[in-house]
Symmetry: C2
Subunit: 320 residues, 2 copies
């Protein structure tokens, strides 16, 4: 994709608001769900189910991403992926994203157009479009994404429906993003597949609706860390969850990186956020859908690993 | 409304993410359209029309608002009003807003809870709720709002449907916010009703759907300035627009403030943004709905005042 406007090293201020809007919206392919795309006061998006699932996340340069660690495309993909995973975790299929973008006036226009490229690419991977946005001046690059989705007749899968005796299962990678962040934090840039897992999560969005259709009783996307997010389900459902460590996949790659860095790879798997895997509970008689792996059980109380409390910090809290 | 958590002078960091989320979401009243509110991965909002109208705006402290000029409640109301006016300008009724909020760790929690109070109040004024959000750390206070709305069976009213011969009409105040900003910029705090017009716009959201039902051919909310926004309609519709200055209401109050500050009040009316009035075009045979005032005509080309180009700067562009 060529961005003649941005490639010249122009700043966003030089290109101007309207030039920049053109650069990030022109010649993009909208899915059928985008009934009216960017360019008007608001977008119009299909909501065939008569309910719309909606979520929003804000990513801040220096807090949630670093442009010396990730390309603008990767930041754009990650910002969109984090939101689409939340939509999928309700059991909905993503339909559209809207983007709010604040940046300094001297930001190279190319950074913004490449960020937009990543956003469009990730939205497209989910079958969604980018239907609207806003771009304004600020001291720091801040990316705000709102994602919408459609439930296609299913009840939304909340955090509060888990019942004692349900099976706990996950879909997608765990611990990879945390390992990648640890690698970058030590000043390394490889192994690339580990580092890239931090840069761009790769949730399979269709796993959410599949779990909903299979009868998932509760679901969440793993953004804060597996134990922290299972804790959110446990709290909302007023139950406990026991993870069986033996059922967790601790990939050889993470074991290698763990020994190189003197870190415990199981800790990454249990507490690392940002992979945006899905975690769900299913009634015990249900066959979990393809790609879902059973990792534990819903219990009476407490979030435990092999029946014991896990004593490491369990996840990410903002402002700490 | 009491905010025991915030009133003690605690910072957002001390209160913590989850305490803060509680403070801004607990004991709020959701409308029926909020099928599932804050607290899960995503919200679920009614979309009875099977289409959802969606728009997003970002407001940055020091760029779009100043907390020495406006209270946090006023900033919250304005951020939500700007978005709900965009929804109304499509002819839709607002259903819900989602809020992304970035702020420094040492921000008093009370600033955020009062901001939320304003958001809830403005959403409620429109019959909408606040269904979701995200709060993160940043160097600067940034407020991102996404608003959703329902078309109730009407076609969306875009910017591109104006036809030569249509009547141009507006609903709501023009020039007041610009006059208020001019007053504040000179270091004054009165007249209060002028200053408050800058602090909190007061769009009548129902005027948008009423215009759609009456057969409006194009509509926009006046956020950049009347001539600039009519220019957006003219450009999208490939027509011109002539405003008849004699039909514009230049309120006595603005005339007084204009003479006190040595400014032209007509210029505020023609080019001042942020009042979030609605401007629309109607076929000439249509009776414009209650509260709409005819101010001009759709012509072949050019945006003119009494047939002549208007030579002042015509509105707001970001990064300039």
């Amino acid at each position: 994709m060529s961005h003649a406007d941005g490639a010249s090293g122009e700043t966003v201020a030089a290109l101007g608001e309207f030039g920049l809007i053109r650069a990030v919206t022109e010649n993009r392919r909208q899915p059928e769900t985008t009934l009216l795309g960017p360019g008007d006061d608001a977008a119009v998006i299909a909501a065939p189910d008569r309910r719309v699932v909606a979520t929003t996340d804000v990513l801040v340069q220096g807090v949630h991403f670093r442009l010396d660690w990730s390309t603008p495309e990767q930041v754009g993909r990650k910002a969109v992926a984090a939101n689409l995973a939340d939509v999928a975790a309700m059991g909905a299929a993503p339909t559209s994203v809207l983007v709010g973008l604040a940046c300094p006036a001297d930001t190279p226009a190319e950074v913004i157009t490449r960020l937009a490229d990543g956003m469009w690419a990730e939205a497209e991977r989910a079958g969604a479009g980018v239907s609207g946005g806003d771009m304004v001046r600020a001291d720091q690059l801040v990316v705000s994404v709102t994602a919408l989705g459609d439930l296609a007749g299913c009840a939304p899968v909340t955090r509060s429906g888990a019942r004692v005796g349900d099976v706990v299962a996950v879909h997608g990678r765990l611990g990879w993003a945390a390992a990648g962040l640890a690698v970058l934090g030590r000043g390394f840039r490889s192994p690339v597949n580990v580092v890239n897992a931090h840069r761009v999560p790769e949730p399979e969005y269709a796993a959410g609706p599949a779990a909903a259709q299979a009868g998932a009783t509760a679901m969440i996307d793993v953004s804060d860390g597996l134990l922290a997010d299972l804790g959110h389900i446990a709290e909302a459902s007023k139950v406990g969850i026991d993870v069986r460590a033996g059922l967790l996949d601790v990939p050889r790659r993470l074991v290698e990186v763990g020994s190189a860095l003197g870190a415990d790879p199981l800790r990454w798997v249990l507490t690392g956020g940002e992979d945006h895997a899905l975690a769900a509970t299913f009634p015990p008689y249900v066959e979990v859908p393809d790609g879902w792996r059973k990792i534990g059980l819903v219990t009476e109380s407490g979030v435990t690993v092999n029946g014991e409390p896990y004593h490491e910090e369990t996840g990410w809290e903002h402002w700490r």
